[in-house]
Symmetry: C2
C-alpha cells in the first residue's frame, strides 16, 4: 500500500537514524515528532527541538514527560538559531532532522513558518548532517502564505548540488485541500 505522507516521513527517519545519534525537530508543534525522534535515538541519543510558540513548547514538554522521554532539549526559539544551540550542547553531527512546515494545528494560523528562516535552518543543518542522513520536510501549504514558502523551498532545494545531495519529492496529486507533501534532502 502507498504510505501516507506522515508514515513515510517516519519510515525515512527509521531507516536512516541510529540509536545514540543527535537529531533535530525543527518544529516541535504538538510534540508528536519530538517524541517519535526521542524514542528513535534512545537513551544514549538526543533530540534538539525548536518552536517559536510558547504553547507548542509547553505541549511538547508535557507529552515528553507523560511518555517519560528525557533525552530532548526543547527550545523556545526559532530553528534558524540552531547553530547557537549546537555549540551550547556540543553537537558536532546529526543523524537527521524533521520539519513540519506551516502552522501549529489547533492554534493561531497567522503564526507560520517562513521561507527565509526555514531555508536558513536547512542550510545550517546540512553542514552537520551525517553522510546518508536525511532532512525531512513535511510541507503544509494550504494556509495563507503556505504557497510562498512551498515555492521558495522548491526553488532553493532544486538547486542543491546533485553530486552532494538527493532531494526527493513525495506526495499525492489527486487530493483536495492542498494536502502536505514531503521534500527529503539526503546527504550523499
Amino acid at each position: 500500500m502507498l504510505k501516507r505522507v506522515i508514515s513515510y516521513a517516519h519510515e525515512l527517519m527509521e531507516t536512516t537514524v541510529n540509536p545514540g545519534e543527535t537529531v533535530v525537530d525543527g518544529t516541535c508543534g504538538n510534540g508528536k515528532d519530538t517524541l517519535f525522534l526521542g524514542k528513535l535515538v534512545g537513551q544514549t541519543g538526543h533530540v534538539v527541538g525548536f518552536d517559536i510558540q510558547a504553547d507548542a513548547i509547553a505541549n511538547t514538554k508535557a507529552l515528553l514527560e507523560q511518555e517519560e522521554v528525557k533525552n530532548a532539549h526543547v527550545i523556545h526559539d526559532g530553528h534558524e538559531h540552531v547553530e547557537h544551540y549546537f555549540k551550547k550542547y556540543k553537537v558536532e553531527s546529526i543523524g537527521g532532522a524533521i520539519f513540519n512546515l506551516g502552522y501549529l494545528p489547533g492554534s493561531d494560523k497567522s503564526v507560520i513558518t517562513t521561507p527565509t528562516t526555514t531555508i536558513q535552518a536547512i542550510d545550517t543543518l546540512v553542514a552537520y548532517l551525517k553522510k546518508g542522513g536525511l532532512i525531512v520536510l513535511v510541507v503544509y501549504h494550504g494556509h495563507p502564505g503556505g504557497d510562498t514558502e512551498r515555492d521558495a523551498l522548491f526553488n532553493h532545494l532544486s538547486k542543491l548540488e546533485q553530486r552532494q545531495f538527493n532531494v526527493l519529492q513525495y506526495g499525492f496529486i489527486n487530493q483536495k485541500n492542498s494536502p502536505p507533501f514531503i521534500l527529503a534532502i539526503e546527504k550523499k
Copy 2:
C-alpha cells in the same frame, strides 16, 4: 537510503503483486520489466506485455527465452488495445501494471508514447485493477514531446476521484537533464 526511481517502481510492484496474478507491462521496451514481472507472478501467473516497435518485441522475447520465463504474452500492438487482448486471454482482473513512458532506449527517439493512447490504456486498466493494486508509470520527459505527455498525464491523474484512488508522485527535484519520476495509481 532514498530509493532510485526504478528501484522504487519495482519495490511498489513487489509489495502489491502476488504470485499467480496477471500483470501488465504497458511498454516492453528492452524487456527488463517484462522479465521482472514474469518472475514476480511466477509460473502460475501471467504477464501481458505491449510494444508498438518490432525491435522491442524481438528484444523482449529474446530476453525472456534466455531467462527461461515462459508466462508472458508479448504483443506487437499499442497498449491502448489492452481490452481486446484481455478478452482474448480471458483476463478478468490484474494485480498491477508498469509503464515506462517515453522512447525505447537505444532506438529511434521520434517513436514515443503519446498522451491520448497512454491515458486510454490507463483508464481501461484501472477498471481491471484489483483493490490495493498499483499502476506504476515511470515518466521520462526530457525528449521532444515528453513535456506534453507529462503535463497531460498530470492533469488527467490529478483529477482521479480521491475516494477511489490515490495518485502518488515520487521523484528527485535537483537532478539535471529531466530525470524520470514515478506516478503511481493505487485503487482503494
